[in-house]
Symmetry: none
Subunit: 187 residues, 4 copies
Amino acid sequence: MSDKRKAILDSALVLFTERGFHGTPTSLIASEAGVATGTLFHYFGTKENLIGELYLEIKREAGKIMREGTTGKDVLSDLKLVASNYVSWGIKNPEKIKFMEQFCLSPYVPDATRGEAISNFLFLAEIFEAGIESGEIKPLPVELAIKMSAEFLNGIIAYITGEGQGRDAEEIFDLAYPVLEDGLRTG
Amino acid sequence: MSDKRKAILDSALVLFTERGFHGTPTSLIASEAGVATGTLFHYFGTKENLIGELYLEIKREAGKIMREGTTGKDVLSDLKLVASNYVSWGIKNPEKIKFMEQFCLSPYVPDATRGEAISNFLFLAEIFEAGIESGEIKPLPVELAIKMSAEFLNGIIAYITGEGQGRDAEEIFDLAYPVLEDGLRTG
Amino acid sequence: MSDKRKAILDSALVLFTERGFHGTPTSLIASEAGVATGTLFHYFGTKENLIGELYLEIKREAGKIMREGTTGKDVLSDLKLVASNYVSWGIKNPEKIKFMEQFCLSPYVPDATRGEAISNFLFLAEIFEAGIESGEIKPLPVELAIKMSAEFLNGIIAYITGEGQGRDAEEIFDLAYPVLEDGLRTG
Amino acid sequence: MSDKRKAILDSALVLFTERGFHGTPTSLIASEAGVATGTLFHYFGTKENLIGELYLEIKREAGKIMREGTTGKDVLSDLKLVASNYVSWGIKNPEKIKFMEQFCLSPYVPDATRGEAISNFLFLAEIFEAGIESGEIKPLPVELAIKMSAEFLNGIIAYITGEGQGRDAEEIFDLAYPVLEDGLRTG
DNA sequence: AATGAATGAGTTTTCATTCAT
DNA sequence: TATGAATGAAAACTCATTCAT
């Protein structure tokens, strides 16, 4: 991928989260990226397309990071690893978390793009299904379990990057994660 | 509160969640509310101020609704009631939930306003503190517990208003809430 | 019709003929008209719509002027009067002639608008039909006769406003018109 | 002349008449011609120069075609031949006619170029002068006679390529031309 | 209090042109 | 010769805000 394309995506990420989609002029994205405005449109065609590509890129990265190290053998330890991967990544990339939260629901990301992004998280459904089948996890609708868990982890990240700043992130995770695990586990 | 003021807030809520802040012209808010553009500025001064007032109004309502029926006597039952109140309200007012999620993090709501809104949720800290002190709830930083729980409930609402549409809301809540309760409860 | 609207149409006429459609920025039209850019869009919505309205206005005026004084009794004298009216008007309004010639064929005027404009010239067909029926005019397809005559008159106007400048317009018309009349008349 | 140069001129002719000068990007002309944008500028230097060269090319062709077969012996038959040549060529090359009509008056063709083009039509003045001198043609200012006649013929072409489509072109010409001839001829 | 015409700064996007390859 | 990525000035159009009524 071209250097300029990458620089544009980087600037866009920061500026969109700081100032919102319509609050960020394309001219500002371009100048922060050190390229001409025309170059932005050369690579992305429209501003909407730019945010769409950025959205996909981040979702792809998040999905990839979360899966790292999972074995498919033990549901609960896979789940903890996925959560830990996600929280670690989220703490290191707070703008990406902020971006996902702001633009998951926002109208600026085309629906088609949103749909395309889901594929990166299908493995989560498999983990939950396995856990429910084996009786380790409470029998919940899988989509519900995913939604609750994901939001729960976002809550942890928000706390660590917000009020909890300065305290040890791992320590907080070790304090917080059992709440989710104990909640999901059967009796 | 004047009828026109109310009509403007109502239109703004719907339009901001559907189209974003900068994506919604004041002229459109005004025309949907059945008033002249000038009237919007007569009541709210600026567009920023309008979204700020809307934000406060909704946070105030959310706080009030959540507290309804709590006794301060039993932590776990108060907590469940608060959760249930919030979820019921959220299902009935999905635009308000969407608005809060979109604009909690967004740069359009002035920070001062965000601060002002927090006062509506101080009672939550009291409940958690009491629970931790009595040993009923795991010893967690209170703000962490609040953040995780709030996000968790948003996950439930998102599921009910999204994929879970058509299924009985109360039934889903009864399935999902124990996950949070079991998680927060000590051993 | 509002003063500002009229001023915008007047500037647009001059500038479009001098510089072409895409060669004329809306900002220039507005400033020449002594209004803000926004005002132009307030009245006309789009630049395309502006040229469309201008086109209709001019065609309407041309049609009205040409008909003035016709009686419907004598074909050849009606025809001469129409021609004379048109040429006189054309000499006094050379930008309108230039505008019609440039934008009759140009892609900037929407086809629908072009169609709408034709209604102003239906009376010409009636005159020619009457003349052909009475035997005074050669039996030609009416549309052909109109096209040839119209272009012929444009040739006269072009000459008078171009090379023939300074010479008496009426004298030139009296020299030129018989060519058309003798040509159309039966043997 | 290089193949690429010719391809560029061909694309430009079609696109300029269809979309106007400023409505046609150089990048589009190049891509339709199957060459890179840079190549267009390699051959023509600027867009203005491109339209100028195209204008000259067409005027040159028109002049050459019109003269074909004239003898200089009989004014009226030469005139008819010129007219017939022009109309035949115009019917076969409607984009060239459209181009000339649109850009004769337009500001995009530099005045110098327009002047240069006139030389191709000087022979017309000679024919008319001869006709007037011999008394065969009404004593008119030569430029006026040329303008009227040229426009008249354009009217015929417009009719044939427009409303008269499907009918025999020659037949229409034979119907229409006598109008011009009878008009120009003395008594 | 309520209106909506008018404003003009600011936005996204286009496109003639250049230049390193 | 020929290319096409990169440029940035300039365009059409939008919209928060004002103000005379």
